[in-house]
Symmetry: C2
Subunit: 380 residues, 2 copies
């Protein structure tokens, strides 16, 4: 079954398809097959999964199944929707009878590629590495607006949770409340599983929230993001209740300075690895070289980890319109970790930090209110 | 950096590795490289991402990076943890200097495979399709216990939400509350983005919750699941407030009968497609053939969609210990959809439904309480 609405595609989709077709022409491709959820939605606005988009020089067809037909027809005006009955591979072969078809080799499994090659015939599938991913690196106005909304929702939700943070809450409960606040504000799902960790556990950068309770005097790390109209935000803050130990105080200061040093390097034409190096140098000079193991940042957009890579081995060069995280961290095993993460846009002349949560130590130090007899009121 | 705890691996990990090594021997493999999050955690209990597990005939090493070193050392006693500094490909080549290495071709991208093949040298990478996935189909006692807990959390959370359901709530808000209830009960994250939809939107099987409000007289569809100790549950129910239209009432009855017909066919040795056919026949005979487009079910476990496939084209044969969903549905465009989904275990002689939420129409019909003047009290 194939359905097509009489409407035409919205302007941003037309413009993305036009750019893709120019790239296809340059690589002598007759078609491009988008296979990842992010690539398909970038080119069509379709929000479902397990569907491919086949773009030829003149047409675009979404290859999906009955679970998504009605949804796709609503979401993608002007697009042809093909409802497959058999395998997705057979449906692609049916829709693409001739010509050279480009695809992203990082977005198909070895097995999926084997089946597709068998169905299409030898020599027709042409790897076109980075064709869409490179286009997706620089955000258009519509994408930027969605990312800004996603950051706003993440920030407002975080502040709402902070206002009601109580020492007796478990990490899991605080994470759940943060995700609830984001959902109430329109986030379809967390950008990734929310991290809330307290105490020495914060020295594990990707720790999962557990049943332990948050405690005064310990670092409480939040790493979270929203998803608005398919676009992700990604932020990290560490807060403290009542007091902070000297070693983490020093680390906090170094992380802030590292972030500032990185920002100062950002502008179009600069190598991403130089931005990473600027932050890393500050952390090394403060004596924490071996406690900052991960890269400085990563692009965000349809996916929470996308291009460019901001790390010591990155070959990416910054361009206007790129949006990525800047997230230096210092992790002291057995003691705790500090990470500050913001989302940054590369502008024509430099950079703009899109997130605007405070990151100064005075703000990070939260006071628990005590009642007159000195007992904790459990309200911050 | 390589770290190894002095402890030995827990018994269930030892037993899974032993079974893998027998399969390796049968395929003349010197090692197996697990690349997917689910396969790695199945063989190691590691809960992080972007890490590979290399199992040789005598050893097992988790290839990860500094973000996960401390976490992996805690989670995987007895396992060697290798903290890579360069690419994951280079780290694999360093750890696997010789011999034939099996891998799952559905769990690596075409691009990732190309890089790995280049680093390891020709002829050393051997596709071993299904080696782990087949083992993962039949759940051991520990896995079954986790799935049962995951179902319990999903059910209790759903009932808590039903008790407080109010007609003024939006789909997004109800979904958020369901996810909050699951998280408070220990679910690390939803098994998949929770579906809550009302009215005609329920005829789109994979619709996302939207800002619309739930209304009396309309079907309200919930499709949700928890994740406990990494194991997923997956359930669907449709409830109504106050009244139900005749056409959906008839569809509801047919869906129930289809589910019963499917269950009656389940036992070891039966082809999965026969189970699908049993349900499909009931729905066809009721006149709804073209309104049930998707397969009857899918395996659940570490992933919310795993083997076996319960569909018309499945080649899977049922075995004791398999756990999968049975989820017939009837979707009437413009009117609404009915789906009932339960999680079912294949036992030595037949089947057991692990979920125990009611599915009778009397239960599904929820009454909104009215105040004396007949106005809706907004409480159900």
């Amino acid at each position: 079954m194939a359905a097509k609405s009489s409407k035409t595609s919205p302007v941003h989709i037309q413009s993305r398809l036009k750019r893709l077709r120019l790239a296809m022409r340059a690589r002598q491709l007759d078609a491009f097959l988008a296979t990842s959820v992010a690539d398909v939605s970038y080119l069509s606005d379709f929000s479902g999964e397990e569907s491919y988009l086949l773009v030829t020089r003149r047409s675009a067809v979404l290859i999906s199944d009955s679970r998504f037909t009605e949804q796709a027809t609503r979401e993608c005006p002007g697009l042809r929707v093909f409802e497959r009955k058999g395998s997705i591979t057979a449906a692609v072969a049916k829709q693409a009878r001739r010509g050279r078809i480009g695809f992203e080799p990082a977005a198909i499994s070895l097995d999926g590629h084997k089946q597709l090659r068998r169905a299409l015939g030898a020599g027709r599938l042409v790897p076109a590495k980075g064709l869409i991913r490179r286009a997706r690196r620089c955000k258009d106005a519509r994408e930027l607006a969605a990312i800004r909304r996603s950051i706003r929702v993440a920030q407002d939700s975080f502040l709402a949770v902070l206002r009601r943070l109580k020492p007796a809450m478990t990490e899991l409960e605080v994470a759940a409340r943060l995700e609830l606040e984001m959902k109430i504000r329109g986030s379809s799902q967390p950008a990734f599983p929310t991290i809330v960790a307290c105490g020495a556990r914060t020295s594990m950068p990707h720790v999962r929230p557990g049943p332990g309770r948050i405690k005064p005097g310990k670092p409480i790390l939040f790493d979270w993001g929203a998803s608005i109209d398919g676009y992700k935000s990604d932020l990290t803050r560490v807060v403290f209740l009542d007091s902070i130990c000297q070693s983490l105080q020093a680390a906090y200061q170094s992380v802030r300075e590292a972030a500032d040093a990185a920002l100062a390097r950002i502008k179009p034409g600069v190598a991403a690895r130089e931005v990473d190096a600027a932050a890393r140098t500050v952390i090394r000079q403060a004596g924490y070289a071996k406690y900052f193991g991960h890269g400085l940042g990563h692009g965000i957009g349809k996916e929470v980890h996308e291009e460019p890579v901001i790390g010591p081995k990155s070959r990416d060069i910054l361009e206007e319109g790129m949006v990525f995280t800047v997230e230096p961290g210092i992790y002291l095993p057995g003691c705790g970790g500090i990470r500050i993460e913001n989302d940054v846009l590369v502008t024509s002349k430099g950079w703009r930090v899109l997130s605007d949560l405070p990151d100064d130590p005075a703000w990070a130090m939260r006071k628990t209110r005590c009642s007159r007899d000195g007992r904790l009121k459990r309200r911050i």
